[in-house]
């Protein structure tokens, strides 16, 4: 099986699944409750949930459709730390370059 982080990134790459996570971040929900706002079929929602479960991002029953799904509390820590590092590499660097240029202004180059 692929490493967990790969599965997490693959799971997060899909906008519907990110929206499902955002919905679950507000509280647990059943397949039926998730289906309505997204306007896609129950099997489609179930497939997305399966991917999220396999990535360790949510938990809930495998068989029982009615059992509410919820976010796992520490699910995204590793993936998130790594994403943030790359995501902010250039914005952080640009902030620091700006500070560096201000700090060295007027000094002999």
């Amino acid at each position: 099986m692929e490493p967990l982080l790969d599965r997490q990134f693959a799971a997060l790459a899909d906008p519907t699944r990110r929206a499902i996570l955002a919905r679950l971040a507000r509280g647990e929900a059943t397949v039926g409750e998730l289906q309505r706002p997204f306007g896609i079929s129950q099997p489609a929602i179930s497939r997305h949930l399966k991917v999220l479960e396999s990535a360790g991002l949510i938990e809930g029953g495998k068989a029982a459709q009615a059992r509410p799904r919820r976010l796992k509390a520490d699910a995204l820590d590793d993936a998130r730390g790594w994403i943030d590092g790359l995501r902010t590499l250039w914005s952080d660097s640009f902030d620091q370059l700006d500070a560096f240029l201000k700090a060295t202004e007027g000094k002999t180059e």
Binding site: A73, W82, I83, D92, F94, Q96, F100, E105, E109
Partner: protein, 164 residues
């Protein structure tokens, strides 16, 4: 499919010459380059086409990551281009330590333009020879850079704070 790319641009209140020095002098570069809260160390710096830049970044948790860049164009004071990627401690190219689907190499193009108020820096990141899967992954991460995931993460933060 068009190759996805990431672009960031900002105007700095400094001359092109100072900016060029900040990007090309190893000591100055180490003073600002890298994610916040990491300490950058330049291991190798050979500023010419085909030359190699290697650096190490130390995170607060004690872990280290190595990068290797290979310069393609060096045109003072207006343009720098290099191949960007992760490396092991000896400088051999490796995949991103935590995400094998991240493209192995990215072409980085940086331009320095004189504008009102200083110098405009434009930086573009584009995957090199990436598979469609890697391009999709990169695209998804770029969306996250542009804030596409921010909302979800903010909500996650709120959720995690509540459940702690």
């Amino acid at each position: 499919m068009t190759t996805p790319s990431f672009t960031i641009t900002r105007v700095f209140d400094a001359s092109r010459e100072r900016i060029w020095a900040a990007w090309t002098d190893p000591e100055r570069l180490a003073a600002w380059f890298g994610p916040k809260e990491t300490k950058g160390i330049v291991l190798e710096h050979d500023l010419r086409p085909g030359g190699v830049w290697r650096g190490r970044m130390d995170a607060p948790d004690g872990s280290a990551m190595f990068s290797k860049f290979v310069f393609e164009q060096v045109e003072p004071p207006s343009r720098l281009m290099w191949i960007h990627g992760f490396a092991d401690e000896h400088g051999a190219r490796i995949r991103a330590p935590f995400a094998p689907l991240f493209p192995l190499e990215l072409r980085t193009t940086v331009t320095f333009a004189e504008v009102d108020g200083g110098t405009r820096i434009t930086l573009e990141w584009a995957p090199i020879d990436a598979s469609s899967e890697e391009e999709a992954f990169f695209q998804s991460m770029m969306e996250s850079m542009n804030g596409g995931w921010t909302g979800s993460f903010d909500q996650l933060d709120a959720y995690l704070a509540e459940t702690n």
